[in-house]
Symmetry: C2
Subunit: 485 residues, 2 copies
């Protein structure tokens, strides 16, 4: 805008002084076009930059831990740079301070577990490959003319073996980075030894610079606002349990709510968000497994001991995913083309809502157990509630109005009333189908929630969650779950 | 074994010569214990190594491409080592040949796309960060006493910004590695410039070594048995489509097969494998997205042009996953506690089998379209078949025996016969529930398959798959789908 105004100014001046020089307006015009084009390009670029910045800002606002991580990277690099600026330190590592900087850049990860994993991998692989490389170099020098051949073959073989080992899943999960550093160091030492004279000294300096780099990383990652992979995983599972509970409640309520409301489906963005919450759980496998792997590298912190059973989180995650598959298919019922008649909905509504609320109560209790790392004293009651809700729903199925010869068996007044009302209008299984699907998915979901309960219980026992003494105060938490994200 | 036999030998000798020296048997005993322990430890180690080797062997046997990749890494490293061995080449890059080796180790990935991605990232980020670093270094030297301060601040700021950008998903998907290399190079150049005199020369040498390393990687990865991420993704989708078809057929057949057979469920390992095939699809999202991202870096190869619509593979994958969720829940019906009565099964069996075979035919046709990169001339018929199977199943629902007032509408002889047979035995919705669930899942699955068909059609149009002219010869392929893996 400022440039455009400057252009206008130019133009006006040239008109005023038009008598002295006729060419000025034309050059002013071309300048205007140039400025206008520049303006346009700048605008487009600025818009894209602004969009990127807005996206970046939102990421930071959603998860301040990411901003903290970036600050820590800057800090670690500034710290390690001191080795360059201070003569004694620089000379102390024989001018190889560069390796310390490199170590910090490649090793510093956003959580403690990943940083530890990379540090250990880097140090161990460097020492191992370095000594092997020196040994091969020695053998090569002894073999006279075949030196190049010996080095070449050994590089080929070790590179082959190390690369191959990276394909073995159990090895890859822990030592992938180490295998790469092994190849790197081995090649550098064995091949590099061909030209470098003081190989052992060089190796020593390199190990010490790497040690300096890794220690700076570890100190900063642990002592400045540490971000623990374990805690993140723990919170992820907790949040996912809450999302499942919200989705379950939301889906069933959505299905059984009055028709006039359901025409205006997008009335509430928030409700829709909750309904879709289970989708985060569907594809969480990779994240959970990666984080559980990283969490194993972390020292004891917060309420997690050194040998915290992180593998169980993967198991809990798998159980939750199975619940999410059920919820995914609940959407079939909601979007079914032929809506079930109202009397069918009324017949099943109460029992379904009861089961879904009993199920989601368990999910919320599990989330609360995770949140406060406590055992639950009322879980047994909740599971019992859920199972009796399942029983009740199955009874309701047996008393379904399209069926004619059984209602005598359970002659409760309310159901009899509904029955007599509905036996007049008969309906086909076709109409009942969505409700029937909903019912069987809810029953299956209840069974799957039970496996989740077992997995969390196992975790609570193995990880020594504290006994649920303050049950009364905890109760409020359970009923008003935090609805973050 | 050999050591144990050696031990026995020792023992016998000492007994034979027992008269001359009494101590020998005792020392033989301790030696035996030592040998036995050594043996035990060796055995345990050997067993673990053997287990690891067996696992590694199986990985290689399952996917020879992995072995090829390892050989290529060895080859690339041996090639790049030549720079060390040959004096003129070594001197040409001022003794910085080490950087070429390093580039090869960190840049060489198992498929062409990943290698290209890393090469481009590394080169661009190095040049960008190198020039920026030199600029900052120049500014710093001009600022006299504040030199260290200027360098320190710039390193902190750029490290912060680059690290932060790695959290933006769209940026991370393409330039994650580049951002790391940017931080690395910038720190090395700007900080390193504090001690190095010929900074520009150093930067030039480094760029040229990196160029050498990346070109060796690109040449080897493209010209020696190339492994294309795109082809892998294409085959993955194709195989997953086949797995879905097998699982669908298997699940429905499993449900409707005769009872006496179903008691012996584990009779066929192969059948079980097929039933579980859909599980690979459930968690394929991460792999598919990663491969689609990498495939975009690849040049034209095989039947894939440069701008092949790789993003559509993600869409197809998503549609397939939605089918897999349906299949996952089909297992509910199979494992349902109360099995549906035989007459119900008989009533629905034919229609369900028809729908499932129509659906799986479409999936196999899609797999065949992918395999031969051809458009399908008979897809419309297959979809029509599937939709009429859905219609038929819905009709069957309307004529379900527990319903009493509608069968007059569709008075086909066969169904009337069944009806009259079954109206005598009444049953509750409770008993019909598993079948009802199966039916609604099958119908939903058909709808989801249609979205997959649309996605594959879109791909076929955008990627210019060839017209299906040799329909007659192709026909056989479709009916005998390859049941690999």
């Amino acid at each position: 805008m400022a440039t455009q105004e400057a252009g206008k100014l130019e133009w006006r001046i040239s008109v005023d002084n038009g008598t002295t020089e006729r060419l000025v307006p034309r050059s002013g015009l071309s300048k205007r076009i140039f400025l206008w084009l520049k303006d346009l390009v700048m605008k487009v670029i600025m818009e894209r930059v602004a969009k990127f910045m807005r996206k970046a800002w939102r990421i930071g606002a959603d998860d301040p831990a990411k901003v903290v991580h970036c600050l820590k990277v800057g800090l670690a690099l500034s710290l390690v740079s001191i080795f360059y600026y201070m003569r004694p330190l620089y000379d102390g590592v024989g001018g190889n301070a560069m390796w310390a900087i490199m170590t910090v850049v490649v090793v510093f990860e956003s959580n403690v577990g990943a940083t530890f994993c990379k540090c250990v991998n880097r140090v161990v692989a460097t020492i191992l490959a370095g000594s092997l490389g020196i040994a091969v170099h020695w053998v090569a020098t002894q073999s006279g003319k075949a030196e190049v051949f010996v080095i070449g073959c050994s590089v080929f073989l070790f590179a082959f073996a190390a690369t191959y080992s990276r394909f073995v899943p159990s090895f890859k999960a822990r030592f992938d980075y180490g295998a790469m550093i092994f190849i790197l160091t081995f090649s550098l030492v064995s091949v590099g030894g061909y030209r470098v004279d003081k190989l052992v000294e060089l190796a020593q300096q390199r190990v010490s610079t790497i040690a300096i780099g890794t220690s700076i990383c570890i100190i900063i990652t642990v002592f400045f606002c540490p971000i623990w992979a374990g805690s993140q995983l723990h919170r992820l599972i907790e949040r996912n349990l809450e999302k499942l509970a919200d989705s379950l409640d939301g889906c069933v309520a959505e299905y059984f709510k009055e028709n006039e409301v359901s025409t205006n489906r997008n009335e509430d963005e928030n409700t829709n968000m909750k309904l879709q919450g289970f989708k985060c759980v569907l594809n969480s496998k990779g994240t959970e497994e990666a984080m559980a792997n990283l969490a194993r590298w972390e020292p004891a912190h917060g309420s997690f001991n050194f040998r915290h059973p992180w593998k169980l989180y993967v198991k809990i995650g798998a159980a939750m995913r199975r619940c999410a598959y059920c919820l995914e298919n609940l959407s079939i019922c909601i979007n079914y083309e032929t809506e079930a008649p109202d009397q069918v909905k009324n017949h099943f509504g109460e029992a379904c809502m009861k089961l879904s609320s009993a199920s989601s109560k368990i999910l919320r209790e599990l989330a609360d157990m995770m949140k406060n790392t406590r055992k639950s004293s009322k879980m047994d009651f909740l599971v019992f509630d859920m199972n009796s809700a399942v029983q009740e729903l199955q009874e309701t199925l047996k008393n379904v109005p399209i069926e004619t010869n059984k209602p005598e068996e359970v002659p409760s007044e309310e159901e009899n009333k509904v029955d007599s009302e509905e036996r007049t209008t008969s309906m086909s299984l076709h109409e009942v189908l969505p409700v029937a699907t909903l019912v069987s998915l809810l029953i299956e979901n209840a069974a799957r929630i039970q496996t989740a309960v077992e997995a969390v219980d196992e975790l609570a026992n193995l990880a020594d969650f504290e006994q649920d003494s303050k049950k009364k105060t905890g109760d409020n938490n359970t009923k008003q779950p935090p609805l973050s994200s």
